[in-house]
Amino acid sequence: MTNHEIPAEDLALYALGALAPDDQERIAAHLETCASCRTELMKLRGDAALLALSAPTVAPSARARERLFKEIAKTPAAEKSSVKLGAPWWQVTFPTLTALALIVFAFWLVAQNALIRHELDNARLTAAQQTAAVEQARQVVETLSATNAQRVTLVAAQSKPQPQAQTIYQRDKGRLVLVASNLEPLPPNKAYELWILPANGSAPIPAGTFQPDARGNASLVLPQIPTGVEAKGFAVTIEPQGGSATPTMPIKMLGTTG
């Protein structure tokens, strides 16, 4: 017996349809209100399905297959979606609501598509502008650092060319470019070193070393320096190759802002 008013054996017989009609109805009524018996019934039906597998295996004839697929070929596509009379309301309305929802969704997709296309166009334009800017920057850097570029320093007529250097400095981004000319040749194992002279009077900050070429020209592009340092000027000294932490006197070149 189960804990219910129906015996477990009867539930097994019910699963096989092996009870008398009156008993079948009695069990069916009980199942309406008993979840645990419904669960057990599902298991018993699963057992019955396994029992079905004990039937000797026999393949159906090719004729049976042919007959089936001939009839399927004749089946109109609409037959499947026909709704039987007396079907619950949701079976009738659900497909309609689904279709409406799909139409709304389709319109939304079209609108989204237009929006995405617009954003894509903007992104392409921005990318093109950035590409152009990057290319221009690359050309500037290449020109500044090219060893075969002609560098000519213009000075007052009739005067002897003097060593010169120009720094271009962006404090907030820590970017620095130096272009020098007419530099004197260096002793062996020596290098010119650029220094940032902070406006707050703190110690000079090393900003990279550089070597002049045979014509006395040199450049220093985007050395590693801290950002945000307000500079009151720049200085160049001669240091051992590899640079120094503090400048070695004398200062060979000096320039101040303002």
Partner: protein, 184 residues
């Protein structure tokens, strides 16, 4: 070849995929389901009705139903193979009782521990259940087979065998539980 590729992929597809494709009127998917389960359906039908022509009629009905209303099957009803086996058996019993179909397939929910999607799994399950029945006491096996494959009620079986009703009931339930236990 694209067609051959589609058939190959259908052969390996899950039941759920094939049922969904059948719902979309894909004959290739339906054909794969037929190849997968027509053997079970026909064998069960033949075991009950015994006449190949009648068993083919039942096979035809079951698969036409699957083609027309594949949505009747859903995963909650257990495995497709088990569900088809049960509704085939019920349809075949209705046939030999010369009565209209009693069960609405949409109402047949079952919990099956076996997956019959691959041929190997089907064959393994068949061998296992046949072994369980062979090892069962003959009176018990006969009782459950009379109920399941012949559609007899427990009173019919009791009358045929001369056994008490309670004994028949117990044997049938025990037989089902033995099958269940073999697959746990």
């Amino acid at each position: 070849m694209a067609h051959a590729g589609a058939l190959t992929s259908f052969a390996a597809a899950s039941d759920a995929t094939l049922v969904a494709r059948t719902h979309a009127r894909d004959q290739g998917a339906f054909s794969a389901l037929y190849d997968r389960y027509s053997g079970i359906v026909y064998s069960v039908a033949l075991r009950v009705v015994r006449e190949p022509a009648n068993a083919e009629d039942i096979l035809h009905e079951i698969f036409m139903q699957l083609w027309r209303k594949p949505e009747q099957f859903e995963a909650a009803r257990g495995s497709l193979g088990a569900w088809l086996a049960v509704i085939t058996r019920n349809r075949a019993i209705d046939f030999i009782r010369r009565q209209k179909p009693q069960d609405d397939p949409e109402e047949v929910y079952l919990a099956s521990p076996v997956d019959l999607q691959s041929e190997v799994e089907r064959n393994t399950a068949m061998e296992k259940v046949q072994k369980v029945l062979q090892e069962m006491p003959e009176v018990q096996r006969k009782a459950v087979e009379m109920a399941f494959f012949e559609g007899l009620t427990h009173t019919d079986i009791a009358a045929k065998t001369g056994e008490p009703l309670g004994t028949i009931k117990s044997r049938i339930r025990s037989a089902l539980l033995s099958v269940r236990k073999a697959f746990e």
